[in-house]
Structures are given as C-alpha cells and as structure tokens.
Homo-oligomer: 324 residues x 2
C-alpha cells in the first residue's frame, strides 16, 4: 500500500465478528477511502483472512496475543495488557495515529483512557455520534461511554459535544439541550436535575431541557445525556427506522426504495462509529455488529476526525470543567 | 347522555390545553366510543367550553377550584387537595370509576397513589404503554411513572408489565426483557445490573437484557426500564417516526400516505395513554399534548382497562415483591 496515505490503527479482534469483518473492512478502507490500516491482533489468524482476500502482502500487521471478550465492561485494564485493544491503543498513541475498535465500548473507553490519557480538566471521555435530522445533524453525547456519570461529567459532555459540533460539523454557535422527561426546568431524574443547575454557567449556549422527540427534530445541535440513556436512544432509533420500513412494506407501500435510503442514513455503516471525545488522541468506537463496510467507514471517520479535530478540538474554549 | 353507558372521570384542567381539548375530547368519547365522561375542574370555564360546543346540558361536571401546573413534578400532594387532579382521583375512587388525566405525569402518579392506594406489596406504580411492532405489541414499562426507581421497583415493574400483557393483551406466557446497553448479563448502569440479579427469581419468563433496537422488534412482550429512560424511549419513537416520514418525503417518496398511516400507529392519539399499573383502581395518563381525539381515546382505553383488568390484574400470580 502507498506510503503517503494516512494511517489508522485498527483492533482486528474487536467486534462481534473479529477478523472475518475487520480484515475485509481494512482492505475496503484502503480501496474506498484511501486509508492505510494497521491491523492489530493474532498474527496467524489475521494473515489467514488476508490470504483469503488475496492480500497477504503489503498490509501492516502487529501481533497481540490476547482478545478482550465482547461481554467485558469497563474498569480494570491491567488484565488487558497483551490484548489487541490495549496493544493497538498504545501503538496509536506512540505513533500519533487515530485508533478504531468495534470492541465492547466500555472496554475500549477504559483502554483508550489509559493509553492516551484525558485532556486537561476532562473527568471522563464521552462518545459522540452525529445523527441526521431533516435540517442537518444533531450530536448525541454521551452515546455509551459512561453509563453512570455524575452531574459534573454530564456538564462536561455538553462542553465536549459543543466543541465537536463547532470544530467537526462546522456549527458556529451550537445550541445544547439536556435530554429529560419534560421541557420545564426541574423535570427529570436526580442526575438531570443536578446537571441542569450546572449547565447555565458553562461557556455553551444552553437551550434547556429537550425531550425524546427532540433528538431527531433539529431542536438543538447537541443533545446531552448519560451513556446509558444515550446508547439506548441511539439503538432505539436504528430499530425504529427498521420497524417503520417493515410496517410500511406490510401496509403495501409502493415505494420501499426511499425507506431503504432513509434506513441507511441511520445504520451503523453510515455514521461509521462514535468519536470518543476528551482524550489526547483520536479514537473511534465502531458498532459491535459492524460488517466490513462499517469498519471501513469507521476508519475513514477516524482519519477525518484526526485531520479536522486534533489536536485542538477544545482549544480556544474554556477547558471543560474549569467552571465547576 | 344515556344512563347505562360506562362512566369515566376526566381531569378537565389537565394537559397543555386544558378544557379547550378536554371538553371536546369528553364529547368525542361519548359520541365515538360510547363513554360517559364526568368532567372535573373549574365549573364556569368548563361550562363555557361546553356551550361553545352546543352541549351545555346533560354533561356531568364536578367543580374543583385549583389547577396543578404542568411543570409540577411528583412528591407532595397536600398542596393539591382542591385541584381537579386530586378531586377527580377521589371522586373516581369513591364511585369505583376509572380516572383519566393529561396532567404532569409525576403529579398524576402522586395524586393517584394517594387517592387509590397501591395494591398489596406494590412499592411504586408504573406506567405501561403498548407499542405496535411488526409482530403485535410490546409493553413498555415504566414509561414515565418513576424517574429514579430502585432495583426492587424495576423488578416489580416486570411483574406488573407481565400481568398487563397477559390480562389485557392476552399474551399467555409473556417474555420479559430488561432494557440495557448490551445483551450480555452484567452490562448496564448500576440500577440495571442490580435489577438483573433479581429478575430470574420472579414468577415471570425473564428473557435477559434487551437493547434499544429490540423495543420495536418484537424480541420480547414486555420491555422493563426506569421511568426516565422509558419516557425518553417512548417520545424518541414518536420523533423518529416523524423524522423518517419527513426524510422520505424530502427524498421524493411517491407514497407518503402509507407513512402517514404508520406514523398514526405511534401517535399519542392512537395509543391513547399509559396505564398506571399497581394501584387499587384504573388510571390512564394521557399525553400532555393530547388533543380532543387523544383525550377521547384515553377515556376509551380507561373504560377497556377497567372492564378487562380490574380488579384482578395481578391476582392469581405471586404478589409483586413477595420474592425480594
């Protein structure tokens, strides 16, 4: 593969399918997006898949013995020292490259934090996904990084999400909404009620609470929520789009192609992955069920993020957390 | 209005629009669903709206001076003694009638618990909504009753939701899933991880964790979650269906009528309201934004629930909570 193309480090063992999808995904990333992928994982297994695709030569492979099971959550990273996830993160950090994994998002977040470290003042990184709306995109943050954040972390997610909308999506003064169960202030669970008190003091344009129906309505540019709710909302949207298509087909729609097109907008292959914000490096977490096309797209997103965002995504703004 | 038709008590002041929608809603409930509605609220205001609809005579109105603002949450009910919500609940309890309100769901839950009382062993009532799927319906519980439940409460919601699916929807042995961020056991926030340990010991068929995309996929008959997440999922579905329709129209679909039909399945007017499970009485919480058609439908749902469910929805099963 050519020498001047941008390089991305990929956890070849991550995801529900491992090398069966990551290897053809890496090849597609080069072919379709011009990204050179460094595959990290079990050398023999990766090379077997590469040979199957007739690409045994010219692809960079770094061996790592261990595999982090998809069922693993966050927490302890010591046991992951020799894993493709940890070895990949460390390689990416050393060489200043973006990193991609379709592994368990909790485990990816834990290893990435350990390898790259957080940006100054950031308590927890957050996953951000840009969702298409009728008027553009809405950034959903946190889409699954931290299942039980504190109110202070939620407030930081607002700052990180606003910086992402500004620097990556080009929204000049992004409006930030706090996802809750009523637009009136004071409505929500304890976490949201506490966070709503912190947000007005941050250097972001705080719109107030938004509700579930606002996520795709373009009400705000950034929807802030905890990683548990965010992940459920993200996957609920995927399922809902599929249900609408199926119900319309059953009701005898004469135009299933358009619904296919709309469904593709919300499929994991299209959004490619979630950006892990708040780290001193670029990390993209692909969907666990990613196929080769989704992996390829995630590698391209990582390349774009590294080019557009790093190293100054939150520079020029008050550092996250400085007001709390 | 005829004497033998079933009666339902309606909080005429509840909802974003108050009597402007509840009064025509009550008239439509009679006209379209054969339900006689007792309107509770400010007598003068209600009668003014009745006159506007040419129905000043023959409609039962009970006066209540106070109105609970939509912004109010749960908690203290003492301050609501003279409100349409509290007076309506107490009237319904005394006369053994179903009660409907489109007021703030937290306030409705608090007043309904106070007036009707919980069934034996039930710690907190839960809101249940039956969502259409391609294969039938899925009960989402809790859809907004309790924003911060304990794990024990979540486990009870499973029992209440299963009873609802069995007794109201006619599902013989409902499969119950716990909404989380990974299907593997042990994935989720602290609340869900704790609840997942309790569910296998309950007299319900526990399927395990389900994810956001399972809600409309028919994976299980009952999806159990906390009231914060459940309310967001419910409204997210409404918004997502609207977004798909709008995106398909923009992409030039030749068949917007079918999408209109599908959207109607998920609109508040169709599902009519959420049943408040676990009380010694029938209570339906209509969407705050309900129009007259939605109010009428909610009254019909309350009538059906009272006929089909009360007084034995959880009878014949081990009482909720007896295993904890």
């Amino acid at each position: 593969m050519a020498g001047r193309r941008p390089r991305v480090v990929l956890d070849a063992m991550g995801g529900d399918h491992g090398p069966a999808e990551t290897v053809p995904g890496a090849l597609a990333a080069y072919r379709e997006h011009g990204v050179r992928v460094v595959l990290v994982g079990r050398d023999g297994e990766i090379r077997r898949w590469l040979r199957r695709y007739g690409a045994a030569e010219g692809v960079e492979v770094r061996h790592a013995d261990e595999v982090v099971p998809m069922a693993e959550r966050g927490g302890n990273t010591a046991s992951r020292q020799g894993s493709s996830l940890m070895v990949g993160c460390e390689l990416a950090r050393r060489e200043g490259l973006p990193f991609v994994s379709a592994g368990s998002s909790g485990a990816v977040v834990a290893c990435a934090v350990r390898a790259f470290g957080r940006r100054e003042g950031v308590r927890r990184p957050a996953l951000a996904v840009a969702l298409p709306t009728t008027s553009g995109s809405t950034v959903l943050v946190d889409a699954g990084g931290t299942a039980d954040p504190t109110a202070e972390m939620l407030a930081q997610f607002a700052t990180l999400g606003a910086a992402y909308a500004r620097d990556v999506l080009g929204v000049r003064d992004p409006a930030v909404g706090l996802l809750s169960i009523g637009s009136e202030p004071g409505k929500g669970n304890r976490l949201v009620v506490d966070a709503a008190r912190l947000l007005p003091d941050l250097p972001v344009r705080f719109h107030g609470n938004v509700e579930g129906h606002d996520v795709l309505a373009g009400t705000v540019d950034v929807v802030v929520t905890d990683g548990f709710t965010g992940n459920i909302v993200l996957k609920n949207i995927e399922g809902c789009v599929r249900a609408v298509r199926a119900l319309a087909v059953r009701a005898g729609t004469s135009d299933p192609g358009v619904l296919e097109e709309v469904a593709r907008l919300y499929a994991a292959e299209t959004h490619g992955g979630a950006a892990l914000l708040g780290l001193a490096g670029t990390v993209v977490v692909a969907h666990g069920a990613s196929d080769a096309a989704a992996i390829a797209r995630a590698c391209a997103v990582a390349r774009d993020l590294a080019a557009g965002e790093a190293p100054t995504a939150v520079n020029g703004h008050r550092p996250a957390g400085s007001t709390t």
